[in-house]
């Protein structure tokens, strides 16, 4: 097991290096000069002298590979540079916006798990019955309804009309319910159907028949054997979704005035805040890779075959 984790961790190094390189290059491919952007944001006329002086100050006059190495060296010390707009460290700004995002993501995950897994499971067991039909409709609505609309409907009904929750902003736990439900809603349909399909497949496996022959009760078979195996694809998916959600949900954040990563990223793009964009892209990519790694590790817990293969 330990060996497996070590192996996966070492494979991270080239991936992360690749990400850093791509992030760095992408930003240098964007039309526009970071020095000019900096001056413009700071309200300083971008005269030729000012631009030239700033290019030296920001190190933009050095060869590209040296710029990259300089940048990489700083990134390794968690120094992502300084935002052109707020003049604060990029890392501090990211941390500031990361916590609300983590909050939102965790709450959404709870919603996804609590709503989609039981329904998915029940609709697999009662295939073709009312529950199954109903869950199919819910799934269609969930994947096709745009989140800005669903969000507004929720606010209108649960908040303005029924006065159950606050409309927007952060604060108490109650503030968390509507945005996380909105964010979760899009995923709920997917996972409901995913679990159902995967359970239906496994219910026909020989080990189920064998278990039945052993005289095990249906409930035990499903909960101990079928479900565990069927959760594999769901967990892979959730890992991906987790990465997505941690990257920020721009629309949900905008509707609910939630100061998360999505808002930070979008405003930094609008402001042409180069170090901030670079920092955000890098950070989100790392989060995504790490989430994938966690999924892989969890996978090997759930399915020993993967672990053994790795150890061979």
């Amino acid at each position: 097991m330990g060996w497996f984790i070590v192996k996966r961790l070492t494979s991270l190094i080239p991936i992360l290096l690749g990400i850093s390189l791509i992030t760095f290059i992408l930003l240098h491919l964007i039309p526009g000069d970071p020095a000019v952007a900096y001056l413009r944001i700071s309200h300083i006329p971008p005269t030729d002298e000012a631009v030239a002086a700033l290019r030296v100050e920001l190190g933009l006059n050095k060869p590209l590979y040296i710029q990259y190495l300089d940048w990489l060296g700083k990134v390794l010390q968690l120094d992502l540079g300084m935002s052109y707009v707020s003049k604060n460290a990029v890392w501090d700004e990211i941390l500031l916006h990361l916590f609300p995002t983590i909050q939102l993501t965790c709450a959404s995950l709870i919603f996804i798990v609590v709503i989609s897994l039981p329904i998915g499971m029940i609709s697999a067991i009662y295939k073709g019955k009312f529950v199954d039909q109903f869950s199919r409709i819910v799934a269609f609505v969930s994947v096709s309804m745009p989140s800005f609309w669903f969000g507004f409907l929720l606010i209108y009904l649960l908040s303005v009309k029924l006065d159950l929750f606050p409309v927007l902003g952060r604060g108490t736990l109650a503030h968390l319910v509507l945005p996380s439900l909105t964010l979760a809603f899009g995923y709920i349909g997917t996972y409901m159907r995913l679990l159902r399909a995967s359970m239906l497949e496994n219910l026909n496996e020989p080990f189920v028949m064998y278990a039945k022959a052993r005289g095990l009760r249906q409930r035990l078979i499903v909960s101990r054997h079928v479900l565990k195996k069927s959760l594999l694809p769901v967990i892979t998916g959730l890992g991906m979704s987790l990465g997505n959600m941690l990257g920020g949900a721009v629309i949900v954040e905008t509707i609910f005035a939630w100061p998360g990563m999505g808002q930070l990223f979008v405003t930094s793009i609008l402001n042409q805040d180069y170090p901030m964009i670079q920092g955000c892209v890098l950070f989100m990519s790392v989060i995504f890779v790490v989430c994938n790694l966690l999924v892989d590790i969890m996978y090997s817990f759930l399915d020993p075959r993967i672990r053994w293969e790795g150890e061979k």
Binding site: P45, V114, V167, L264
Partner: protein, 543 residues
């Protein structure tokens, strides 16, 4: 493994129960009651702003917001009703005969919010730090005109100018950059522009008490304030980017009022007004929404084409259908209610036949079987640049595209995000640009002054007008009018400048925009202030 040990059904049921409790516990009925009893003790008003309040530094710009700067910092003189200059931190002033020396007698009862004294010394210090960064404030002509600053005695401050510059007092009323921070606010380098403030210490009616970036800011009443104290104890400013969310939060009473320009859509305003549950108000016209022609490009270089487009634009239809009749039709670049802006001209009325005739005369003729007019084999295509984040601009642009098509003009719509939009606008890469004037106290003199300089903080009008043969002459007249001491001559020059701009048809004014206010019935004192960018927080009260 955890799955083996527990019965999954049970754990799910458990989770579900916990979840229900969590949701039920979250419902905020109890919280509201607490808030209600809290409110009895302290009066709080809550409103929202589309962005963060910024770093509260009166000597800098973006990401600072005008309204928040104006809450904390004050000017020497205040821009009052109808442009009247009122004593503020200076209780009186003397102007030398040649108009080059201004002596301000400061109020003696003013303190900064940290208790430090407000005197001529600190006034000079603030002026000097702003002047150290002259280049950044070039758009304020006064900054260029200041020759020296001087402390005469503890409460007397003298400003010496290079020339007699008539809008001096008016420019001193601006929210930035000539307002005052306390001694303790200065950074070690003393350069407030480059290094920011240590903390926001001003003389204004409000003091920042709690702040969470991109979430909210709480201002408390400044108990030492020298002037009329605000009626409420606290103001909470929530950051809400989305207009529809703002409306819902307002309906839920999470916001006490909505105030500003473009903060909610025209549809929402109409909806709230028609519901009859709230009070709504519209301010007098503040600024003009206008299109600007690029006089350097082939088609729009021709005055006849510009005239034709002025006649081809159905302003009334736009006002009726997009603004629900809420905005007034604009015939001239500035609303006629401002100083020096009332001119007697024949407006370019909507007249499609005349527009077609003018286009024919300009050589852009209709071609059989083709949708668009042509001249020397070239189609009449105009690029219309607008700001994609502004919903109103988008609706108008689409309307224009459809309407002009009927006359054989192909409008190519280009929408860009704010930053890119301004960059493209300054570069002059468009035929038609959606822009607006700057509102009082900047209109008309600062707006016109910006036309004459190729300054970063100026306006795209400079480049756009370069193709006019009269450009030099107009510039000279604008420069002259700013330095005239004779009221009559000034009036004449302004009329002359505005008439020329009108005759040349370089602008296509659409409507005069207003501020909107929507508030609950228990709120009073939501009045519009003379400066469009200020929010009337001092007069607002909660019942």
């Amino acid at each position: 493994m955890f799955l083996k040990k527990s019965n999954l059904f049970r754990s799910f049921v458990g989770l579900l129960v916990m979840f229900t409790i969590f949701v039920a516990g979250c419902s905020n009925t109890t919280k509201d009651q607490e808030n209600a009893s809290d409110k009895e003790k302290t009066k709080v008003v809550t409103f929202s702003w589309p962005g963060d309040i910024g770093d509260l530094n009166p000597h800098t710009y973006f990401p600072n917001e005008f309204f928040s700067q104006a809450m904390v910092y004050e000017p020497l003189v205040y821009y009052g009703e109808g442009g009247e200059i009122k004593p503020w931190l200076a209780e009186s002033w003397d102007i030398s005969k040649d108009g080059k020396e201004y002596v301000f007698h400061l109020r003696k009862d003013v303190q900064f919010s940290d208790g430090s004294p407000f005197n001529a010394e600190i006034v000079k210090k603030n002026f000097d730090t702003v002047l150290d960064n002259r280049k950044q404030h070039e758009w304020v002509e006064l900054i260029n005109q200041i020759k020296s600053t001087e402390v005469v005695d503890e409460y007397t401050f003298k400003l010496t100018l290079h020339n007699s510059y008539y809008p001096t007092l008016q420019e001193l009323t601006y929210v930035r950059p000539l307002r005052f921070v306390g001694e303790a606010a200065f950074p070690d380098s003393q350069n407030t522009f480059k290094d920011g403030l240590k903390s926001p210490i001003g003389t204004g009616p409000w003091v920042l008490s709690e702040y969470k970036k991109n979430e909210f800011a709480v201002f408390e009443r400044n108990e030492q304030y020298w002037g009329t104290k605000p009626k409420v104890d606290k103001v909470v400013v929530k950051v809400i980017t989305d207009g529809e969310s703002r409306v819902l939060a307002f309906e839920k009473k999470e916001l006490d009022f909505i105030f500003g320009n473009g903060v909610i859509s025209q549809d929402s305003f109409q909806f709230l007004k028609n519901s009859g549950k709230y009070e709504t108000k519209l301010s007098e016209p503040t600024a003009t929404r206008t299109l600007l022609f690029n006089t350097n490009n082939e088609a729009t270089k021709d005055r006849k084409v510009r005239l034709a487009l002025n006649h081809a634009f159905n302003k009334q239809a736009v006002i009726d259908n997009i603004f629900y009749g809420m905005e007034e039709k604009a015939d001239t670049l500035f609303p006629p209610v401002l100083d020096y802006t009332k001119i007697n001209v024949d407006p370019y009325e909507y007249d499609a036949a005349k527009a077609e005739q003018l286009l024919d005369e300009a050589g852009w003729k209709k071609v059989e079987g083709k949708p668009f007019r042509e001249k020397d084999g070239k189609e009449l295509q105009l690029e219309f640049l607008f700001n994609s984040t502004d919903n109103i601009q988008k609706s108008i642009a689409e309307f224009v595209q459809g309407d002009f098509r009927k006359l054989g003009i192909d409008i190519k719509l280009t929408s860009q995000e704010s930053n890119t939009f301004w960059k493209t606008a300054f570069q002059g890469k468009y035929d038609l640009l959606f822009t607006s004037t700057w509102s009082v106290p900047f209109d008309p003199h600062s707006y016109l002054a910006a036309i004459t300089t190729d300054s970063e903080n100026g306006s795209p009008d400079y480049t756009a007008l370069l193709g006019l043969p009269e450009k030099k002459e107009i510039d000279q007249k604008i420069k002259k009018v700013l330095l005239t001491t004779d009221e009559k001559e000034r009036k004449m020059l302004y009329t002359d400048i505005l008439m020329t701009l009108h005759e040349q048809a370089v602008y296509l004014p659409i409507s005069y925009q207003s501020n909107v206010a929507v508030y609950h019935k228990n709120i009073s004192g939501v009045d519009f202030l003379p400066q469009e960018v200020e929010v009337p927080l001092t007069s607002i009260d909660v019942k």
